[in-house]
């Protein structure tokens, strides 16, 4: 049975259970039930859905592993052609199995034929070609047998899955209905259920993060097995060559990242902060209602558009001043300054919006106190409001910094691709993120250090931004003033 139907049936059972549970309590008579009727309904629905869906998800995740394990055991060493791997043969097996499914559903083969067909007697490739399934090579007998086994196992698996899920749903229905009597505390049970659902949503987000980190870690370890870590962290040269013998020192990339982020922050922090002070302290409510959304439009622009802006507008503009016709500091439009300026513009709404919220959170009583002593507006802001808001503002700046460090598109288009250690902000440089992109795009061998280095770079970046975020949180907590 298709999974969609299974889901619909369970949902229908849950709906029926809800109505039945509700009805059972309302018609039972006797003393007033502990909870409102709806709670008894929800209790039944929950008991139908939660175990059934949990089983469904676990089964759907586990079945491919089990089947793959069993089928790949059938493939002997001889069946794997020269230069191929077990993985490639298994993907052939899956394609043939899918092809047989398609052929059966189109009526070219009967179900029995698909199960009993033999490669020795039939040209599978042509038969499946009729069904619109293109295979790259002729199907060997062993692969075909494996594919048939694969189909059989999956069919059995699906059958048992349907039975198990329906059985669980029915058992839940019976259990829930049995509880639908006046003394049962349905309200508390539903409350617990809600808590568990919310908890699982939260833990899913955390587990995903853990999964991302783990995948980074495993690939990073793999990289350091084939490339020495001392070279990676010690070398000052970045010159990957896919022919081998590349030098993969991280320092030029880290320096580029740091330099571009620094320029971006030098642009974004003063402008963003002053904009926030203006919006929250000086602007009238009408001005604020217009200006704040307009400023936040900047945050909605995709970074690739900023990248184009850097490449086509800011770069040539800088070049005309600092280039060969001007001061002759700049060789080409792509440079640290180009990317830094544009990234700074991108970060302005980030800094201003967060700082604006923080400044607004400073209690009005502090402003009153300062004005009441005869302070002017700017004295009040400089001496009372900004000190009170400082931890939050520092947090906002650090968040903007971690955003700058992780930014990719502006750098790819605006800063060039040369990894170099230079102090001249008009030189082309590149960052960690841009290099991750260039190492993973193209048809490099995925097991080579030149491709795997991307994971080590990603891990370094992750550790850096994580450290920055933790530091930001620490600052915010440590210096936060407590207002009741």
């Amino acid at each position: 049975m298709p999974v969609l139907w299974l889901i619909l049936i369970v949902l229908a059972l849950a709906a029926a259970g809800f109505v039945a549970g509700r009805l059972r309590v309302t018609t039972a008579g006797g003393a007033r039930p502990h909870s409102l009727p709806n709670y008894y309904g929800w209790n039944v629905a929950m008991k139908v859905m939660v175990p059934a869906f949990a089983a469904l998800i676990v089964w759907l995740l586990a079945q491919p592993f089990v089947v793959n394990g069993q089928v790949s055991g059938m493939i002997t060493e001889q069946a794997i052609p020269e230069g191929s791997t077990l993985g490639l043969v298994m993907s052939d097996v899956r394609r043939v199995a899918d092809g047989l499914d398609t052929a059966v559903s189109q009526g070219i083969m009967t179900h029995e034929q698909a199960g009993s067909i033999r490669a020795e007697f039939t040209d599978i490739r042509n038969r499946l070609g009729e069904a619109g399934v293109a295979l790259g090579s002729n199907v060997s007998a062993e692969v075909l047998r494996a594919a048939q086994k694969y189909r059989a196992l999956n069919a059995t698996g699906n059958l048992w899955m349907t039975i198990a899920v329906l059985a669980l749903a029915l058992a839940g229905l019976a259990w829930g209905l049995k509880q639908a009597h006046g003394e049962f505390r349905a309200r508390n049970t539903v409350e617990t259920g809600v808590r568990i659902i919310l908890l699982s949503a939260a833990s899913l987000a955390i587990l995903t993060t853990v999964g991302i980190v783990l995948s980074l870690i495993f690939n990073t370890i793999e990289f350091f097995r084939i490339y020495p870590a001392t070279e990676f962290f010690g070398s000052l040269t970045w010159s990957p060559s896919f022919g081998g013998g590349s030098e993969l020192g991280i320092w030029p990339l880290l320096w580029g990242t740091f330099y571009i982020s620094l320029i971006a922050l030098i642009v974004a922090v003063p402008i963003g902060l002053f904009a926030a002070v203006y919006l929250s302290e000086y602007a009238g409510s009408k001005m604020r209602a217009v200006a704040k959304p307009l400023l936040e439009v900047l945050a909605g622009i995709p970074t690739i558009v900023y990248g184009l802006f850097a490449l086509l507008t800011v770069g040539p503009l800088l070049l005309s001043v600092f280039g060969r016709d001007g001061l002759n500091w700049m060789q080409a439009g792509t440079a640290v300054m180009t990317a830094g300026l544009v990234m700074g513009i991108m970060l302005i709404p980030f800094v201003s919006s967060l700082s604006d919220d923080i400044i607004n959170a400073v209690p009005q009583s502090l402003r009153d106190g300062s004005y009441g002593l005869g302070a002017t507006q700017s004295e009040t802001i400089k001496q009372v409001i900004l000190p009170a808001a400082l931890p939050g503002i520092v947090g906002a700046i650090l968040l903007a910094a971690s955003r700058a460090i992780g930014e990719t598109m502006i750098v790819v288009l605006g800063a060039g691709a040369a990894a170099r250690l230079s102090l001249n902000p008009f030189d082309a440089m590149t960052t960690v993120t841009a290099k991750i992109v260039s190492q993973l795009t193209g048809d490099a061998d995925f097991a080579s250090p030149e491709a795997l280095v991307a994971f080590a770079l990603g891990m370094t970046l992750f550790v850096l931004t994580l450290g920055l975020n933790i530091f930001a949180l620490y600052i915010v907590r440590k210096y936060r003033e407590q207002y009741e």
Binding site: R367, D368, G369, G372, L373, G374, E379, V384, A388
Partner: protein
């Protein structure tokens, strides 16, 4: 206007702070036909009142009667509220404080304010008190400033409690201490009038007693205006009392007379607890 007012006063239009020499118990602030609007709401109607120098004046009345609003008119704190509009005449030492040429910042240095909730700045105790003198340039050097801070803290009756921890944050003090710190902070700028908006409403009885004692001492140098919800407090600390009801000034007179022999029946009802 009273002839006494014009004598011995100096223009305060953007002028640096100078102590004016006013006769004891002369009229310090004269308000005439004051109207206050919050958007469309008419919050204060036709209030005329003369506030005397070196006297504690209490504003009493039920919640929402406009006494805090009127208090905030006296140092133009209502300017910070966009929708608020003030009409009528309010004079400090004979000068119209709503005149266009008056700098509200200078005015507020002369008419200090203490708020309902203690609001120490997130700075050290010392810097809290030194804030006003610093921005108004009252101290020539550090020693001068130290002296001003100590004097203000002594006048705020909190010196003995904080003298050993002047560099600790003012927010770390207890509620009563914070309020006395705020009073010291207001006193440090050498105002001529001190406005207090329910200064004891967040304090326990002991701290309240300390603040009341302090108000009584402040009377020797300043004109003090206090808004309070506590009739006992008004009776204890004030010499003059004004009773506000629904935006009107119902009755204004000697505290003893208001509490023992009120003229208006509404005043009597409020004092005896029938309205409010």
């Amino acid at each position: 206007m009273d002839a006494k007012l014009d004598k011995g006063t100096e223009p305060m239009y953007d002028a640096p702070l100078r102590k004016t020499d006013v006769e004891a118990n002369a009229t310090k602030i004269a308000a005439k036909d004051v109207q206050v609007y919050y958007g469309d709401t008419h919050a204060i109607k036709d209030v005329s009142v003369d506030i005397l120098d070196k006297t504690v004046t209490a504003f009493i009345g039920p919640s929402g009667c406009g006494k805090s609003t009127f208090l905030r008119c006296l140092n133009r704190m209502n300017d910070t509220i966009d929708v608020c509009r003030v009409e009528g005449l309010i004079q400090l030492d004979g000068e119209d404080i709503y005149d266009k040429r008056v700098d509200p910042v200078q005015l507020r240095a002369k008419v200090g304010m203490v708020f309902q909730k203690p609001n120490p700045f997130p700075k050290s105790i010392y810097d809290n008190v030194a804030y006003g003198p610093k921005i108004h340039g009252l101290a020539k050097n550090k020693a001068d400033l130290d002296e001003i801070v100590e004097k203000a803290l002594r006048r705020g009756a909190i010196w003995d409690e904080v003298k050993d921890r002047l560099d600790k944050p003012g927010t770390g003090l207890s509620g009563g201490q914070q309020q006395r710190l705020c009073i010291a902070r207001a006193v440090a700028t050498e105002p001529e009038v001190l406005l207090m908006d329910e200064p004891c409403s967040a304090l326990d009885p002991i701290a309240t007693a300390q603040v009341e004692e302090l108000i009584d001492e402040l009377r020797s140098q300043y004109s003090v205006v206090i808004v309070t919800h506590s009739m006992q407090q008004a009776a204890r600390v004030s010499q003059k009392t004004a009773f506000f009801h629904l935006g009107n000034l119902v009755e204004y007179g000697e505290t003893s007379q208001i509490f023992t022999n009120p003229v208006d029946p509404r005043t009597e009802s409020y004092i005896t607890g029938r309205i409010g």
